[in-house]
């Protein structure tokens, strides 16, 4: 353990802890924008500078390890004035359109500007202007709002292992870019959105659906696979505005494209809410042109399963009884191996276990599989 003092308070911190981490552990606040606890320290925003006795210039607390006997000052008129200047510089090249920004209310840049009393027009000067050309369906990139903290680049490389984006150009023209400045074409996991401290990266689906303060946060589990990531759903007017995941969840706040953006089914008018039992013979459906379901999903305005003439709604009891009766019938006539069960990755482990038990023990066949294997 290293014994250090921060603002006169004596603290013990393990070796290789950074000053910022040590300060946070003991409840001392140091402002930062580029630091993210799960990513390699970057040291780019320079807001977390602190004075260390014996070192002539301030150091970035996020990249400086504690050393036994260090005397650290996190707050002094010089440090505060420099931090304010850095914020003024950031906001001199920022659209400052908090009125319509998706991030307003949950934006660390906005919080800091508020705390330091920076309106955004103190210095003035040229602003970067970028032509918006991203045709991807998920991630809205407003590079004018980007403060080049590098979090998105690092999360894409270190957590997701995709490296879809990196820095391009030099000086004032530096920006986050895809290869050859093409449209973003990645996994669209949206981890970059999760770590972005400004409104530069948001979800396209989220636009004007609701910001913090006007949404209700509901903790739930992602329905898509057995991993069971914790997600937070932001609901406004009984509609999902967006989703995210908390950093203190077991999945550490990381999600995939499905968990982050695949929630539209919840409010979809096409969503199945009750069991359906087919009433028209299968042949009739094919004749009507619904045989090629894949084609019809994308091209037809009529969903095959909502055609009331082919299906009718039923209660769960009726549907289950119908299934049980048909299974028994088939088993009696053709034997158990005429039946196969296919389970889903969207079920929990327990449900999958029970399903294979049902097929093996009750139906009496080993013809059981799981969609994740296909």
């Amino acid at each position: 353990m290293q014994k250090i003092s921060i603002d006169g308070k004596t603290i013990e911190a393990p070796r290789n802890t950074t000053i910022l981490e040590a300060a946070r552990m003991s409840g001392i606040y140091i402002p930062t924008l580029c630091h993210h606890p799960k990513l390699t320290p970057y040291g780019g925003c320079r807001l977390c500078i602190v004075e260390v006795k014996g070192i002539p210039k301030p150091v970035a607390s996020c990249t400086t390890a504690v050393n036994d006997g260090m005397e650290i000052i996190t707050f002094s008129p010089m440090l505060e004035d420099t931090r304010k200047l850095v914020l003024e510089l950031l906001l001199s090249d920022h659209p400052n359109d908090c009125m319509t920004c998706e991030k307003a209310g949950s934006c660390p840049l906005q919080w800091l500007a508020y705390a330091y009393g920076v309106r955004g027009n103190e210095i003035g000067g040229e602003r970067r202007v970028f032509a918006k050309k991203d045709g991807n369906p998920f991630i809205e990139r407003e590079l004018e709002k980007c403060i080049l903290c590098g979090r998105c680049v690092n999360v894409c490389r270190e957590i997701q292992g995709v490296e879809a984006i990196d820095f391009g150009y030099r000086g004032f023209n530096a920006k986050i870019s895809t290869s050859y400045e093409d449209d973003l074409n990645c996994e669209f996991c949206g981890q970059c959105i999760a770590v972005c401290p400004t409104g530069a990266l948001t979800g396209k689906l989220w636009a004007r659906k609701g910001r913090p303060g006007e949404t209700k946060e509901i903790e739930t589990v992602c329905p898509y696979c057995g991993t069971g990531c914790n997600i937070t759903v932001y609901v406004k007017n009984n509609e999902i505005a967006r989703t995210s995941s908390r950093e203190d969840s077991w999945n550490e706040g990381w999600l995939c494209v499905k968990g982050r953006f695949g929630y539209k089914f919840v409010n979809s008018p096409e969503r199945l809410k009750k069991p359906l039992i087919r009433i028209a013979p299968k042949k009739d459906m094919e004749n009507r042109g619904y045989g090629d379901t894949e084609k019809n999903f994308t091209h037809s305005s009529i969903h095959p399963f909502t055609v009331s003439s082919n299906f009718r709604e039923a209660s769960w009891d009726e549907a289950l009884e119908f299934i049980a009766a048909r299974l028994k019938e088939i088993k009696a006539r053709y034997g158990p191996d005429a039946i196969a069960g296919l389970s889903s990755a969207r079920c929990t482990n327990e449900e999958n276990y029970l399903f294979q038990k049902l097929i093996r023990a009750s139906v009496g066949t080993n013809n059981v599989d799981h969609c994740a294997r296909l």
């Binding site: 780019g44 500078i49 400086t64 420099t82 200047l85 820095f167 030099r170 000086g171 530096a174």
Partner: protein, 594 residues
């Protein structure tokens, strides 16, 4: 100096020599000497060579003629002059007097001490044997065969050599720190990413004597225990790259590089890594990132490269000039080297002397030499009889030394006290026509364009500085701008991540310190005292002097001048684009500029 033949002709083929037509001169000598009417006996004795920078670039192409060891030097040689030199001097034995260098040339060298440049301009850079003949690779051989790495470190420490790249860290100490690391894989990197505007020291050393750098690297690698070395050199130096490549190949063939060099168990490989011309890649952590294949962006220090550098292994990064010093220090002893210079700045330093000075060129002087000796004795004073205003040292990270501080000694501490730095060795001389605000703007423009974009103060701060300076030089300065400049500069200096940002405001701060009144004149009076900022000039024709010749009227590209023949003309300042054509063309000094 051993001359292979009785007659040797050495033609300066440094960057300036080539620019002045060195290749054509060499070709002319070769052709002239192979003419059939020249006696075969003479042809056998005579050889012509390309050599590196001879120093006095202002007088290129320089040609040295050695006849039986007697040296004669010609200046401003053009291919057309070669026939007469060969006929009268080489064959006839009488030098062509009117083309010889004059006293100014002698003065240029008088106060110089050549260590790094000792063999630059003497040896053929593309022939390893020429270097070996002057004692080359002897230092490396002696160290590897007879001495221990600790001896080498002790010797370099005792010489007091400090890093010549700019920071001035003690080279011996850096080697010792890397030596002490227990890691197996270590690296030595030669930083040849010279990027300061107006600086060409490293380029001249590599182009003039690449083997001295390789020998320095061998000795350094042996001292720290590195088996792999890189030369990080910018691709904009094609000739240096070519000569370095050929030198490395020759050193491999000679058994000075590769496995079991000098027949010892020591292995050492050198690779060239081409930089893509980013100034920030001269910063050592950005340089390492670039070699690793990443974007050249600085990383926070500590860890320092000597602990965790290339591929996270201990890495020593030395500048070209630092490494080129090593063989000579070993050869002549640390005491010899330390006898030059001052207490804390030992040895010599190469400077690229440029700007408004008569003898522009490459010089090497003992540390601690008074600045005025460089300007007046070596540099020959200011061109065109104008008044010296300041000397800018250290490039974009440096500052200005005003003319009234010419007694200042040129060493690390004195320059730093005066608000500038030694830096890598750029020295730009400014005269009364140079506007200091404009000069600061030029350097900020450079650092802004070369900022990597990682940290906010450097990326956005230098942009805002540039905008402010631009405004001031265009006559839109506002009250309070000086204070705003100072606050911005201090903020950038205090909070930037790497050396580039931390030193970027220096040109502004040092001109504010020494030439504050020029800033005030720009801001308050909307005047440029040096008459360099176009937007702040007004042109007027004095009626009492104007003869009405019409020359200005014809020269004016914007039709701003009217007047009848033989009657005083008039300039309409709202149409005038301030190009100065009328001022240049008037024979009666009737056009006034202020």
């Amino acid at each position: 100096m051993i001359v292979r033949n009785d007659i040797a002709i050495k033609i300066c083929m440094g960057p300036a020599g080539i620019a002045a037509g060195g290749k054509a001169v060499l070709e002319a000598f070769r052709q002239e000497l192979s003419r059939s009417d020249i006696p075969a006996t003479l042809q056998d004795k005579c050889s012509s060579h390309q050599v590196g920078c001879l120093g006095l670039c202002a007088r290129d192409v320089l040609v040295k003629v050695f006849i039986n060891g007697d040296k004669t030097i010609y200046q401003y040689v053009k291919p057309g002059m070669v026939e007469r030199i060969v006929a009268e001097h080489i064959i006839g034995g009488t030098p062509v007097q009117e083309w010889l260098v004059d006293e100014a040339y002698e003065n240029f060298y008088k106060k110089q001490v050549k260590v790094v440049l000792a063999d630059v301009g003497r040896v053929d850079p593309e022939d390893i044997n020429d270097y070996i003949r002057t004692g080359g690779y002897e230092s490396a051989r002696e160290m590897l065969l007879e001495r221990s790495p600790l001896d080498v470190i002790a010797e370099i420490k005792a010489s007091g050599l400090r890093g010549r790249g700019g920071a001035g860290f003690l080279t011996g100490l850096k080697w010792e720190l890397a030596r002490m690391s227990g890691e197996k894989d270590k690296y030595i990197i030669c930083n040849a990413d010279e990027g300061d505007p107006g600086a060409f020291m490293d380029r001249a050393v590599i182009e003039g004597n690449p083997h001295s750098v390789i020998e320095g690297m061998i000795i350094g690698a042996f001292a720290v225990g590195a088996e792999k070395g890189y030369v990080y050199i910018r691709a904009e130096y094609p000739l240096a790259v070519e000569r370095l490549k050929s030198a490395i190949n020759q050193a491999y063939e000679a058994g000075y590089l590769g496995k079991e060099i000098f027949r010892t168990p020591v292995n050492f490989d050198v690779k060239i890594k081409l930089g893509a011309g980013a100034f920030v890649c001269g910063e050592e952590t950005a340089l390492i990132a670039s070699i690793e294949g990443e974007r050249g962006m600085p990383r926070p220090k500590p860890p320092f490269p000597v602990n965790k550098g290339l591929w996270q292994q201990p890495t020593v990064i030395n500048n070209v000039e630092t490494l080129a010093n090593i063989p000579y220090i070993i050869r002549n002893g640390c005491g010899w080297y330390a006898s030059y210079g001052t207490e804390s700045s030992r040895g010599t330093k190469v400077f690229a002397l440029t700007g408004k000075i008569k003898n522009t060129g490459l010089i090497e002087v003992p540390m601690g030499i008074p600045l005025k000796d460089i300007i007046y004795d070596i540099g020959g004073g200011i061109e065109g009889g104008k008044a010296l205003k300041a000397v800018q040292t250290g490039g974009p990270s440096g500052g200005c030394i005003p003319a009234d501080m010419l007694d200042l000694k040129v060493d690390y501490e004195s320059l730093s006290r005066a608000g500038s730095i030694v830096g890598s060795g750029g020295m730009i001389v400014l005269d009364e026509d140079d506007c200091m605000v404009n000069m600061a703007k030029y350097f900020i423009q450079f650092t802004q364009a070369e900022s990597c974009g990682k940290c906010v103060p450097c990326r956005v701060g230098t942009k805002r500085l540039l905008e402010m300076l631009d405004r001031i030089t265009k006559g839109h300065g506002k009250e309070g701008d000086i204070e705003r400049l100072e606050r911005m500069c201090t903020g950038i200096k205090t909070s930037s991540l790497c050396g580039l940002g931390q030193t970027a405001p220096n040109p502004v701060l040092s001109t504010l310190k020494h030439f504050r009144e020029e800033y005030e004149a720009h801001i308050r009076d909307k005047k440029c005292p040096a008459k360099a900022c176009k937007e702040l000039l007004t042109y007027r024709i004095r009626e009492d002097l104007c003869k009405g010749c019409g020359a200005c009227l014809k020269a004016c590209p914007s039709g701003a001048i009217t007047g009848e023949k033989k009657k005083p003309h008039k300039i309409y300042s709202d149409i005038c684009i301030r190009c100065g054509a009328c001022f240049e063309v008037c024979k009666f000094n009737s056009v006034e500029r202020e």
